[in-house]
Symmetry: D3
Subunit: 246 residues, 6 copies
């Protein structure tokens, strides 16, 4: 999105009179997204920027602007070379990365942060905006695995996602000849496929001992938790206590 797109689209968002704004951008430092950040910062609406590795460079700026942020280090750039910008190739790549980010718990962290903000807004307390850079330590310390090998495989899947980012940056911005960058992108996309498989295997382990954790919301939006497949979700006490503490 360039600056003009932003100028055209963003005002309409504010017309909805939002309580909370979530702005997702792979690179919030370039002009269009920078413009968005300015406007969010000045709007007085609690706002969170969700981004990947390039977002880390403007961390201080985000803090000065009073914006919350969730930066996912392991959310890799696609292999953005003409040869691979086929809609099918891209959808498959995204399918693999979605699986990795979901199973390793990145999505869990993201939605729970948003959940907390919504909870604050609903209860009238002032929302504490997240300031998170999600890296492999968060997968290790915050994911929901019962089996330690499941967790090890999930961490591995996440590390692979970071590796993909590294290779695709090389392939897209450093190598100039197609003989050099095509094998690199193809390799990165193969790693995406195997990372998804590894993440899936982590989840399967939890199924094998019927310890897979699910956290659906209740109809009223409360955070619930269930482990054994055949049992009902219950209120997630641990999470609620955390919310009250704040």
């Amino acid at each position: 999105m360039n600056v003009e797109d932003v100028e055209e689209a963003l005002p309409k968002i504010f017309e909805f009179d939002p309580d909370l704004l979530v702005f997702i951008s792979p690179n919030p430092s370039i002009s269009g997204p920078a413009n968005v950040r300015d406007k969010l910062s000045n709007s007085g609406v609690p706002s969170v920027v969700i981004s990947d590795a390039p977002g880390k460079r403007i961390k201080n700026e985000l803090e000065k602007q009073g914006l919350g942020y969730i930066i996912v280090m392991g959310d890799p750039l696609i292999g953005a070379r003409r040869e691979f910008l086929d809609p099918i190739e891209m959808a498959i790549f995204n399918s693999n990365i979605i699986k990795v980010l979901a199973i390793t718990g990145v999505y869990r962290i993201v939605h729970q942060e948003i959940d907390k903000l919504i909870h604050s807004i609903k209860t009238g307390s002032s929302p504490v905006l997240p300031k998170l850079i999600i890296d492999v330590n968060d997968i290790r310390d915050r994911s929901d695995f019962n089996n330690p090998y499941a967790k090890a495989k999930a961490i591995a899947a996440y590390e692979l996602a970071e590796k993909i980012a590294e290779i695709n940056i090389q392939a897209c911005f450093v190598e100039k000849e197609s003989d050099k960058y095509i094998p690199l992108v193809a390799c990165a996309h193969e790693i995406a496929q195997i990372a998804a498989k590894l993440a899936e295997e982590a989840r399967e382990i939890e199924k094998y001992s019927d310890t897979l954790v699910r956290k659906p919301h209740s109809k009223a939006g409360e955070m619930k938790i269930k482990t054994k497949l055949m049992l009902q979700p219950k209120l997630d006490e641990k999470l609620y206590r955390k919310l009250l503490e704040k």
Copy 2:
């Protein structure tokens, strides 16, 4: 989206003065989406409804409203039971279905139909709106596989997607007790996982003989095609001839 949501959001879309509108709804027959359809129909803007199986029931209505439509029969409902409405579970399910719909060629059909509309609009000719119900025959007749077993596996993945839809409807709307519906949803989600694997296998077969087709757009938006991994995309002659015919 209910009717009020539509009344609030849709006018802002028209403020962009769009050349083309694509409306995606899993069930365009209920009140909110019906309201959208009315407004699209009256707007004079060329509009396409993308939907899944429930959309088939209002095919005649869509035609009367002068709306284009692409109805994907094998895009299944998620297991929308509380126990499974965990954001992670849902993301994984979607990841699997994305992979199936991408690899089997459903996404190819969808984006090429949109491509054609954009082409018409850009060249000033009047756009012919698609009237498509995508079922297993389209996978068989329109997909890009060179190896017939790859195609057979892709068709199988698509058939499985249809089966998931069937089971989840039973689980969500027919069975009342959790002892009955939980195993069904769990089963449907297992099928989603194995359907994604089967689709992936179909794609791997094409890699094994270096016959995997990719169709990236050129920078100018032209439809290109490439097969051998190390070669460059070329203009997709066959597709262009089709466009000229119209």
Copy 3:
């Protein structure tokens, strides 16, 4: 088997003076098998018809004829098109379906029903002939899985078997051109392969927690049960109580 075959072969069976007759036919409504049913019905010998989906249509007739029946809805027709009527192809298809029906518990239900009849006959009580239509609900409610995801995968395998039946009927009786039916049969046989794999996976889960149930007969024909691999089978108390109740 046509009527003449039946007239020639069946009398010889009766010469053995059997206590029980089990008649297996994929479609017991056509003339040959219908002739068999008549003869069984008139013979006075307790008789059970085992069939698949087409057998369901003559359920009432079977009841009137005083015949027991076990109709397995998920026992699919092979892809009976010339191109696939290769003995090797057929053996592989059967191998896959045997694995699905064995692991999901269909064979368990069948042999236990026969076991009960033999028990009645041996103890001189009058045999209660089975009247069973085995569908996915029976897999859900009667199978021996300890892990609920193992059961979900088994149910999935069974659902796939039903899907195969559906596709092969389309391929064998509806589509006329080989360009249309070959991909469908090939697809159905791919599903058979993956259904077998899914069933196998269900069984593996039980191995992983050493909870796989085996039910060998004792030398005297008693029904025994064992779970932990290294332990000996014991009398299956639950099953015996059921037998005594009748």
Copy 4:
């Protein structure tokens, strides 16, 4: 089958006035089957004994009796220990062995030998009874694989089947304590599973290059052959020439 069973059942078979008799027995040297062989030998009806490894010991006797024979060395004994004589376990074991024997081409050899006999009988020429001991050399020299690694994997699957036989004989007839024989049978059944997977992989390789051979019979019973999936079967010239030579 013991001798009395034979005395009761076999005469009824002769009442059909058969042109050809095929007698299948895992061990044709023990009393019941020996009785059968005598009767077949004296009947004047062309007869073929199909057996596995134990049959090899009576090869000379079979020749003296004027019986044809097909002895399949790699058709292993099941793990016939009480703990494993569960109908489900046995069906799964058989499913795996069927897959191995079908894919490696053992079934092809068997049915073609029978085909040739039927051809002779139909054309009024005197049938030349087969005298075959099928071992790994036959898999190597007679199987239909185009890809040499597919053949290597098929041979491997067959070798594993022979290994299973060896282990199960140890487990069933040598080891006395359950602590010793249970792990051996469990191991043999695991090998059966992986042998089936290996055979399947061999077949998949042929699918990947669309070179999988199928040999359906025509309606008139002629032997046909096809390779490319989408093409029709043709008369198997090579096979017919062989038939004429005899």
Copy 5:
């Protein structure tokens, strides 16, 4: 190693004034290795010969020479035919066999025997040299699996390793024509690959229940043991008691 190599190299080893000598040879009966055995026998240094199947033939000789021995029956000969003596092919074969011998516990037995000798030497007691022929019974009785199916799969992997040896001997020393031995070696190497996979699967089972046993040495060389992944290794009491008994 021929006799001259031995004459040149071995004296230098003795110059180190070793406390213990371990001599590894695939076939210790031929001249070079026989020369080594003589010299070890006469050296007075406690010596152990590690060998595979051919070593079994000289068991008595080894005992007379006062040499310890560990003969691993399931350590197969590579497919030593020119076509396969590619360094990459050989490294892959070895990689597979290492995995099998490690996971099935062969390496455990070997290093614990050496550990015991070192312990004796360190504590000044006279070392009891091992006299071991490791076959499938040792895998069954001495391996560290908690799950009985993991053990069954490990035994299966070991049995496959023995089968490889058998096939490669046939391929290397019996068959003369490349048309005959190439498929056999290729088959043996495929079995090596699948045996490694089977062994790996055995280990995965233990991970799934977090019961995988690891036995690292302490810095001081003590034998320790750990099971749960996140816990620390402890002194291996059982093993130490065994050592004290001697």
Copy 6:
């Protein structure tokens, strides 16, 4: 190896009066290996150091010392934490890395460099010592894959090997608490397992089209090459021309 070990062992090596010395060390910069390098440098014997990533830091020093070097960037450190220093764990890790380095072609480069040196020495020409840092570009440019996806998967396996190195350095030298380093090492070892699988898959692709390249030496030590499995190796013309050029 510390300095004393070197002082004791190395002189004996020189007593063999070697034509060529190959020195393998994971970290040739520390005191023991540094001592070795000095002695090799002063010996006048052509010498090559083979090392992994840490060796890169002393590249200039190696050149000054007149030593050849082959530094393999993707040969990762094992997870050298007490909990994982179990001989079995280590053997499995090595098995996986061997497979990756063999299949991706690292071993090919290494042995061909040694081959060239031997060739020079045998023909009396002065050996040109290798100065190689093997990274992902070498895999891309020098490996023997015919299928570009096989190559992409091989590159991916190699990239994973580099990632393992990175994680294990973090786990072994940065993290202090076992709660932090155990999951990291476990993760690195999982990546090793999946990297081996990915490399294996690359090799399988070549089998599927019978294009797998093997390069056995002739009995006389000539470099030969073969591709189709059933054909004989021929002299590797391309390689020989390269040798003559030097």
